[in-house]
């Protein structure tokens, strides 16, 4: 049986969801025999494999032009897309900048009093979007893993269900934000 291809992406988030993914303990051993982890911050591979993947987990909100490009590519190249954690599902903490003009944000954080003098290297750093958005506001999403971060048990339950060809049963406490 060929391995199930899984990608994980990291947008505007703190990496806590990926930490929680690595926190699924012995399930990792089971997954190792069944999945191929493709492009992911864990493998440091940057591009989707040819032919796409079965599942992509997206941590973080859509906050800059690179995220916007990648989220659309992820949708095209994944059979199943999962919003992975509160930032991807709701915008969470990154979304709190919404309502502040991005010019002012850049000026306040990277402007006067810092070594950059407000000049950002936009040739390598993507522009911020004017509004941080949850993933499903940009592309359709199949499943939502709640939590900041999602508990390891919920992540394991969802992935194992998908490997069995079943719908993940996300109910009750599984849907707790925060």
């Amino acid at each position: 049986m060929s391995k199930v291809k899984i990608s994980t992406l990291w947008f505007s988030g703190c990496a806590g969801c990926h930490m929680s993914l690595l926190d699924i303990d012995e399930v990792l051993i089971e997954l190792a025999g069944k999945i191929e982890l493709c492009n992911s911050p864990i493998t440091d591979l940057k591009v989707f494999p040819e032919g796409g993947v079965d599942v992509t987990l997206i941590e973080g909100a859509v906050a800059n032009e690179e995220h916007l490009h990648l989220v659309k590519e992820a949708r095209e190249k994944s059979k199943i897309l999962i919003s992975f954690g509160d930032c991807a599902v709701t915008g969470n903490v990154p979304g709190l900048r919404n309502g502040i003009p991005t010019d002012k944000l850049i000026e306040d954080i990277y402007g006067k009093g810092t070594t950059t003098n407000g000049e950002l290297p936009y040739d390598v750093v993507p522009h911020l979007l004017d509004r941080v958005r949850p993933v499903h506001e940009v592309v359709p999403v199949e499943y939502f893993l709640h939590g900041c971060p999602p508990p390891a048990g919920v992540i394991a339950k969802a992935i194992l269900a998908l490997l069995d060809g079943k719908e993940p049963e996300l109910v009750g406490e599984d849907l707790k934000f925060g």
Binding site: S83, D86, V89, T90, G91, N92, V93, G95, L96, N98, G99, P134, H136, E137, V141, Y143, F144, H146, C148, L170, V171, G172, E173, D174, L175, K176, F177, G178
Partner: protein, 232 residues
């Protein structure tokens, strides 16, 4: 004693006249989700989460009287769709970010997202930017976490008798205010009893200094106080 007979979700139930549908359902172990309702306070039907179907109409069960012969349904697909949309709108209207909220883990809104299986909010979030009022020495209000249930307003008026809390403005500008929109710390009518903190279902009104997930409310306080008062 005069009684009435009605049907809830196909069950035949006997009740006393004058009871609300919600009271009858709760007395018979039938769960209806609520948010603005609080035992011990008057009911106002503000949040609409307790809607039920009576003769094809959606009505709030807290403010609708149970009448003889009524056929009430509490869990139809129509009700579920409407309850979830109401909940999504509540989330979208504020900044209900659980990850750094004092009330996380003890929040009625957070619990409702689980109960009503709200996987995502399908309308755009509005990201309001209200100023946090931390002028009171012990308590603060983050209006971006307020769901306008009015439990603070009713508790302050009906139980404490101070009438400090009230509503101002309408629609998406509506907010709860202290005195005539004075800073809470300057509100002379406030007795600093703290009951509004205990009854607030979210992290809108909290104790100062409570960090993430540290705030736990005692919302049964009002029921205990009013019960004792009735027996005086």
């Amino acid at each position: 004693m005069e009684t009435i007979t009605l049907t809830i979700d196909g069950r035949t139930i006997t009740a006393a006249p004058g009871q609300s549908i919600l009271e009858v359902a709760e007395a018979n172990g039938i769960r209806i989700p609520t948010l603005c309702h609080l035992e011990g306070l008057s009911d106002v039907g503000a949040c609409r989460l307790c809607i039920v179907e009576v003769a094809g109409q959606l009505v709030p069960s807290c403010t609708t009287q149970a009448v003889d012969g009524a056929d009430i349904k509490t869990q139809t697909d129509t009700i579920k769709v409407h309850r979830r949309m109401i909940l999504e709108l509540l989330f979208a209207e504020g900044n209900h970010v659980c990850s750094f909220c004092a009330s996380s883990g003890g929040c009625e809104l957070q619990d409702l997202a689980c109960e009503l299986e709200m996987h995502s909010v399908t309308v755009p979030y509005s990201y309001p930017r209200n100023r946090i009022d931390a002028t009171h020495p012990w308590f603060l209000i983050d209006r971006d976490r307020c769901v306008l249930c009015g439990r603070c307003v009713r508790t302050c008026a009906e139980v404490e008798g101070a009438h400090t809390w009230g509503f101002a403005e309408r629609g998406s500008s509506a907010r709860v205010i202290t005195d005539l929109a004075a800073d809470w710390g300057e509100a002379e009518s406030c007795t600093s009893c703290g009951k509004c903190v205990e009854v607030c279902p979210t992290g809108a009104i909290v104790l100062k200094g409570a960090s993430n997930a540290e705030m736990r409310k005692d919302s049964d306080l009002v029921a205990r106080l009013t019960e004792r008062r009735d027996h005086e």
